[in-house]
């Protein structure tokens, strides 16, 4: 494995290998000294061209817990604002001998293009509406910890599925691990073509949640509110919001995930976030372990045979 650009092209074996590795990294977060010497002397650059708190900090801490050095490049305050192209920025950083590049960009496919021109591993931290592979892995890890395995589980993904890179990465990893996946949300935001991959597509939330073991609640991207693809927030909450009422349709042991940040009272009620059904905080913790595993996998060995 040279880069982590998507989950679609990973084999089931690669996915299981990364999840096992992640599970074994979780323990490090409980140590009094949360630092192993594994990536000592390696430098990693976080190239974030889109706002992010959780993912950027999670990657930064993951690298630091592995003893790597990290620098952060953001759009504002950098040469990007002066008109430098992404390619020139990346090439200049490569020349400073960085050993790995983590990239988030609003355009799908940018991580792939960077990987094509750089010799060092590239990790996709979210590109456009394409994929967010480490989020897919941390969701799979969180579900595995709660349920033992994804095989045979019914997993419902609720929200703006069409524009969601989280949904896309989730679908690939959940299907690879043997789950039944159903997606639901406003009809204009449901890609019918997902049926080709064996995903059930329905605008009917009741149908989607019935007997579900896991509910992944996507963030309502309020910046899309003006595009007329979305109903009002009030209507959205009424029809697709996760509330104690709609949750009662799911399996009694169903768990609730959310990639964050949450719009409380819109796609999910506060009382659900705070309830014992929520696995939202474990998701955040697992995110650091997953990113440690990915960094170790890509930078922690000599040349693969």
């Amino acid at each position: 494995m040279q880069d982590l650009l998507d989950l679609e092209s990973l084999s089931k074996q690669d996915i299981i290998g990364l999840l096992d590795l992640s599970q074994n990294m979780v323990e490090i977060l409980d140590r009094p000294i949360k630092k192993v010497p594994t990536l000592r002397g390696k430098a990693i650059v976080n190239l974030f061209f889109e706002p992010s708190t959780r993912t950027r900090n999670s990657f930064e801490l993951a690298a630091k817990y592995l003893s790597a050095d990290v620098i952060n490049v953001q759009k504002s305050g950098s040469s990007v604002e002066k008109g430098e192209t992404l390619w020139d920025t990346a090439r200049n950083l490569a020349e400073m001998a960085v050993d790995g590049v983590v990239v988030r960009h609003q355009v799908s496919g940018v991580p792939q293009q960077l990987a094509d021109i750089l010799d060092v591993p590239v990790i996709n931290a979210g590109d456009g509406s394409h994929e967010h592979p480490t989020q897919g892995l941390l969701d799979a890890l969180t579900i595995t910890q709660a349920k033992g395995s994804l095989a045979g589980l019914k997993v419902a993904i609720i929200g703006d599925v069409l524009h969601s890179r989280v949904a896309r990465s989730d679908i690939w990893v959940f299907l690879a691990l043997g789950a039944d996946v159903v997606v639901s949300g406003p009809p204009a935001l449901l890609p019918q073509k997902y049926e080709e991959f064996g995903v059930e597509v329905t605008a009917d939330l009741h149908r989607a949640l019935t007997d579900a073991d896991v509910i992944q609640v996507l963030r309502l991207q309020r910046e899309r509110q003006s595009s007329k693809e979305l109903p009002s927030l009030w209507e959205y909450h009424l029809r697709w919001g996760i509330t104690s009422h709609s949750l009662s349709w799911a399996h009694p042991d169903a768990i609730v995930l959310h990639p964050g940040p949450q719009n409380r009272g819109v796609e999910i009620d506060s009382e659900i976030i705070e309830s014992s059904r929520s696995r939202i905080l474990p998701q955040v913790r697992n995110g650091v372990a997953v990113r440690m595993a990915v960094l170790f996998r890509l930078l922690g060995g000599g040349h693969d045979e």
Partner: protein, 185 residues
Amino acid sequence: MKHRALLMDEDAIRRALMRIAHEIVEHNHGVKNLTLVGIRRRGVPLSERIAANLMAIENEAPDVGSLDIGLYRDDLANRPFSPVNQTSIRAQMVDRKTIVLVDDVLFTGRTVRAALDALSDFGRPTAIQLAVLIDRGHRELPIRADYVGKNIPTSRLERIHVEVKEIDGIDRVYVEKMDVAEETE
């Protein structure tokens, strides 16, 4: 062509682990405040067996945990990627405890060096001792074992294989001698 010779069978391993348990009790005046730490992978079942022996001798069980040293290797850049296994020890099993590290074979000492580094990230033990089933010599670091099942002088061309029921389905130790031709391939 490889030449194999059996060095220890099931009974020999069982007796060696029982003797090591007696030596640990004698040396530490019991098992109070003791933690056995098995190094992944084959040190782990050996540590569990020594713990069972200690229980039989003293009627008191020590803490037992496992440690994977994969993240502490000093040759990461020169070998293909290999995953790490679970580490089950926790800070309260290490800090102010007497640790007995358990591994199958003591060779260059680099695994033990990595384990010592790893342990110091969990806390400050009162003392760290080392128990190994086989000491085959060729140390590259100033490290020695406190408890040894069997000393086996070897050449660097030989490989020592320790097999345990929990992982390999059989208890035995054998040496494999590689032909010079094969070694230089």
